[in-house]
């Protein structure tokens, strides 16, 4: 009786196996469900997206009376996504530029220390000068106008996704309705899976014999995009369904919708994907999502099915058809009324246009990144959505890039040998600093970042040549004055057992030069005589105070700049002369804000005393002579009339060409050369100075034409400049007002009190004595 027949035993065994299988599967599904739940919880409870950190330029200030470079300003406004309109601008981000006025409806401004709503202004121009700035809504005259910082780079993660997060409350109802109509019109009725939708899609696809509709709900799409890879397999579909159910179980409908609106892929801007309606709204229509009209909202909703296939940029006609189709559907489903439908259907929808994302100021960004990585890891920069506000002047940067390119091309045109086949490419570098703040306003580390990322401003070590001479002259200022006489006689120095005879760049028959003249004309022999009289060790000590990180070899040739320097350090050193003896650390970062706009980091000007102000001024005065009557007088031929101090530099065999020039406002350094040290066959005055001058002319907004101000401790005195050849019996050849350090005003023979020993040593130079070292 208890013996079952064989078939029944088999059936019972099969049933048992099946039951165990079902239980095991249920347990597996439950465990997997718990695991998925945990995963969803982890992803959604923390930071939901990897938000790239953004780097911004500085704010641009405009004010009445300011001279501008109209092209640079308009280019900047275009990069800030101000779109040209024919009529008077009526919406934020619109601009109309004419001959005598620029009408601008400003974007809202939000910086670490400013918040301002959008408003319209008219900037009246008198040729290239701002005549007045007025609000065009209430006529108020503005004495200062701030143009928002420019986004110059983004720290992307591997996904290269760009999004602007929006809350569901910011999304206008017609965009929500359009998206639901397009993708999931029963969204508020189902629980993550819409069986009716699946059946309807299957029927429609069968009817047309092709895949015309998808049955995925918005929750499923979110599950697929956010958690899963794009392959089409049965197990992946099952996982998608489970995730959708868990999402619906865990979150309310509006939260899911908000995540969806921020997650969804909506197009491509070069190599960067545009994600979320917040970013798409700016990408396609140049405005925040709150301001989207119904036809614009329908365009964005229509994109979801195929962001590139229906892109208004790539396929405007298909985009138009799909938008109209969606509007028709919205009308059929009574989501919108007849009037709205008709108006939206007929409305022209024009995308604003875009610039393919390109690194701007890439060398500057690299330099900045080095400093940033001391504060944040690369992962944090690629995900935390920080806002990094910098010192960069976007207009100046553009002008510096153009001036360098033009200058190098001019040289290559004049000297075809510079482009010889097989040789490396002529290179150059430009850095612009504000001497008193250290703010780095522009940096071009090479002529083509795509070709070479080596930053010649911050990484190159190049011989300084004559740009080092000011540190030699500075060392002598305690015992000599601008009118002191320096010999120009040939001399031989023994250095490490070898003879060395310094020669002048161009020979003259003069036996001596006055100190001011010797520096202005960059006379090598006089400089070496001075160096030997002062002592090379003293020069090394003087220069070391300026913070050069490269070694300063204590040889006589140091006087002529036989020393490697890093260009930005040379610029910083000259900044001391410009800033009244104070050295400002190069500053690139101003503020770092967190993802929610909270302040995280702030950098202020950091100053260090290096020189007494009077000595710094005296050096500036000497370096002004370089421009007025010396090797830098080419600056004047470019039509630059404001006060400039500076120094040219050329190294042996024309390997390096330099020009460092400054005003009280700005210091700009230009270097030209080959990376491999080949000769460029041109001096600093020929190769680097024109780049400096072109740049100075291109940025009138940066030069106020101010005079250098003499500090306390400077004395002015009219002096009689007799022939330097020693013919003191002749009457004055020139009476000149000269500047002296207080207490160091020379007597009528030009000799300072207490300078006897140094003068004796210098006189040795007149006899051509051989010195050993």
């Amino acid at each position: 009786m208890n013996q079952l027949s064989k078939p029944r035993r088999l059936i019972r065994r099969l049933l048992r196996v099946f039951s165990y299988g079902c239980i095991a599967s249920a347990i597996a599904v439950a465990v997997y469900g718990v695991w998925l739940y945990e995963r969803i919880e982890t992803r959604f409870s923390g930071q939901r997206w990897q938000l790239p950190s953004k780097i911004y330029s500085d704010v641009t200030l405009l004010y009445p009376g300011l001279s501008i470079n109209r092209r640079l300003l308009l280019d900047q406004l275009a990069r800030l996504e101000y779109r040209a309109v024919k009529q008077k601008p009526e919406r934020s981000g619109e601009m109309r530029a004419g001959e005598t006025r620029i009408d601008l409806f400003l974007h809202a401004l939000k910086t670490p220390d400013r918040e301002r709503a959008a408003f319209p202004v008219v900037i009246h121009l008198d040729r290239d000068r701002i005549a007045s700035i007025r609000r065009s809504d209430n006529g108020e005259a503005l004495s200062l106008l701030e143009i928002e910082p420019e986004e110059i780079d983004l720290f992307f993660g591997p996904e290269r996704e760009k999004r602007r997060l929006v809350s569901i409350d910011q999304v206008p109802p017609h965009l929500i309705q359009a998206v639901l109509t397009a993708e999931d019109n029963r969204y508020f009725s189902h629980h993550g899976i819409d069986f009716r939708g699946i059946l309807r899609a299957a029927f429609a696809n069968l009817r047309h014999g092709e895949i015309r509709q998808g049955g995925s709900t918005i929750t499923q799409q979110l599950a697929k995009n956010y958690f899963l890879t794009p392959e089409r397999t049965f197990t992946r579909k099952l996982r998608e369904l489970m995730i959708a159910l868990i999402l619906e179980l865990r979150y309310d409908k509006r939260t899911i919708l908000e995540i969806y609106f921020n997650e969804i892929y909506l197009g491509q801007k070069g190599s960067i994907s545009v994600n979320g309606v917040g970013e798409a709204s700016w990408f396609y229509f140049g405005k925040p999502v709150e301001e989207l009209s119904l036809p614009e909202a329908a365009t964005i909703a229509a994109l979801i099915r195929g962001p590139n296939a229906y892109s208004p940029y790539l396929n405007p006609e298909r985009c138009e058809r799909r938008r109209r189709h969606l509007l028709d559907k919205m009308y059929e489903e009574t989501v919108i009324g007849k009037t709205e439908w008709q108006a939206a259907r007929e409305a022209a929808v024009e995308p604003v246009g875009y610039e393919v994302f390109a690194k701007r100021a890439p060398y500057f960004v690299d330099f900045l990144s080095q400093q940033l990585t001391e504060l944040y890891s690369p992962e944090a920069l690629a995900s935390l959505g920080l806002s990094i506000y910098t010192t960069l002047d976007a207009q100046l940067q553009q002008a510096a890039e153009a001036a360098l390119t033009n200058g190098l091309e001019r040289l290559e045109k004049d000297r075809p040998e510079l482009t010889a086949d097989g040789g490396s490419r002529l290179q150059g570098a430009v850095v612009v600093l504000q001497p008193r703040s250290g703010a780095v306003l522009a940096m071009v580390g090479g002529r083509d970042y795509g070709e070479s990322q080596f930053n010649r401003v911050t990484q190159a070590r190049r011989q300084a040549g004559s740009t080092f001479k000011p540190f030699v002259y500075l060392s002598g200022l305690d015992q000599l004055s601008p009118i002191s006489v320096l010999p120009n006689t040939p001399a031989t120095y023994t250095v490490d057992g070898k003879d060395w005879q310094p020669r002048n760049f161009s020979e003259t028959h003069r036996r001596a030069y006055r100190l001011r003249e010797a520096l202005a004309q960059s006379i090598n022999r006089s400089t070496v005589h001075l160096a030997m009289a002062v002592g090379v060790d003293q020069i090394v000590d003087t220069a070391a105070a300026f913070g050069f990180s490269t070694p300063l070899p204590p040889y006589p040739s140091l006087a002529l700049g036989a020393v490697d320097v890093i260009p930005i350090e040379l610029a910083r050193a000259y900044g001391v002369f410009a800033a009244g003896g104070i050295q400002a650390e190069p500053l690139t970062i101003r503020d770092v804000l967190g993802g929610e706009g909270e302040p995280l980091e702030r950098r202020d000007i950091q100053l260090k005393h290096v020189l007494p102000p009077a000595k710094a001024y005296l050096m500036t005065s000497l370096l002004e002579s370089v421009i007025q009557e010396g090797t830098g007088k080419g600056v004047r031929s470019w039509g630059i009339r404001f006060p400039v101090a500076g120094k040219t530099g050329t190294t042996n065999n024309y390997r390096d060409a330099w020009f460092v020039g400054y005003t009280p406002d700005l210091l700009m350094l230009v270097w030209v050369g080959f990376d491999d040290g080949a000769s460029i066959g041109a001096s600093g005055a020929q190769a680097a100075l024109p780049i400096w001058a072109e740049l100075a002319r291109a940025v009138p907004h940066r030069f106020a034409g101010l005079e250098f101000v003499a500090p306390p401790g400077i004395v002015r005195k009219s002096v009689c400049l007799r022939d330097t050849e020693g013919a003191s019996i002749w009457p004055c050849q020139e009476i000149r007002e000269e500047v002296f350090l207080e207490g160091k005003v020379p007597d009528d023979a030009g000799i300072l009190p207490g300078a006897g020993a140094l003068i004796q040593r210098l006189l040795k130079g007149l006899t051509g004595e051989k010195e050993k070292r």
Partner: protein, 121 residues
């Protein structure tokens, strides 16, 4: 109105009214804009918003590097923050650019003395 110095609770004397930063109309426009930023900075400093004030003064001296009052107030702001070394550096620049300004000699002298006290502390 007094501005409190955090370290030691020292107070700074009331500052002259903003109108003093006016510059003649014949001068370069940068000077006017710089003077306006200096005024804004003074207002912020008087409100105790020292960091925001420093930003305004920094901008002011960026536009006009000869703006002695901008440096003077930067020095003042850094004293409020208790960084007397920074204050001294800016004060040095203020001395250069305010040497010929009538009425500033005594103020500069007093500020220099305050900075020195801070440095000696």
């Amino acid at each position: 109105m007094v501005v409190r110095v955090p370290s030691g609770g020292k107070t700074l004397p009331p500052q002259p009214p903003p109108a003093e930063t006016e510059v003649p109309r014949s001068q370069p426009p940068q000077l006017h804009a710089s003077a306006e930023l200096t005024r804004k900075g003074q207002t912020l400093l008087d409100q105790g918003r020292v960091d925001a004030a420093i930003r305004e003064f920094e901008r002011a001296v960026s536009l006009n590097p000869n703006n002695g009052q901008g440096y003077y107030h930067l020095a003042r702001a850094w004293m409020v923050k208790g960084d007397f070394r920074q204050a001294d550096s800016f004060h040095q620049l203020a001395e250069i650019h305010l040497q010929d300004e009538p009425g500033w000699a005594s103020r500069l002298k007093a500020q220099k003395a305050d900075i020195q006290k801070g440095l000696d502390r």
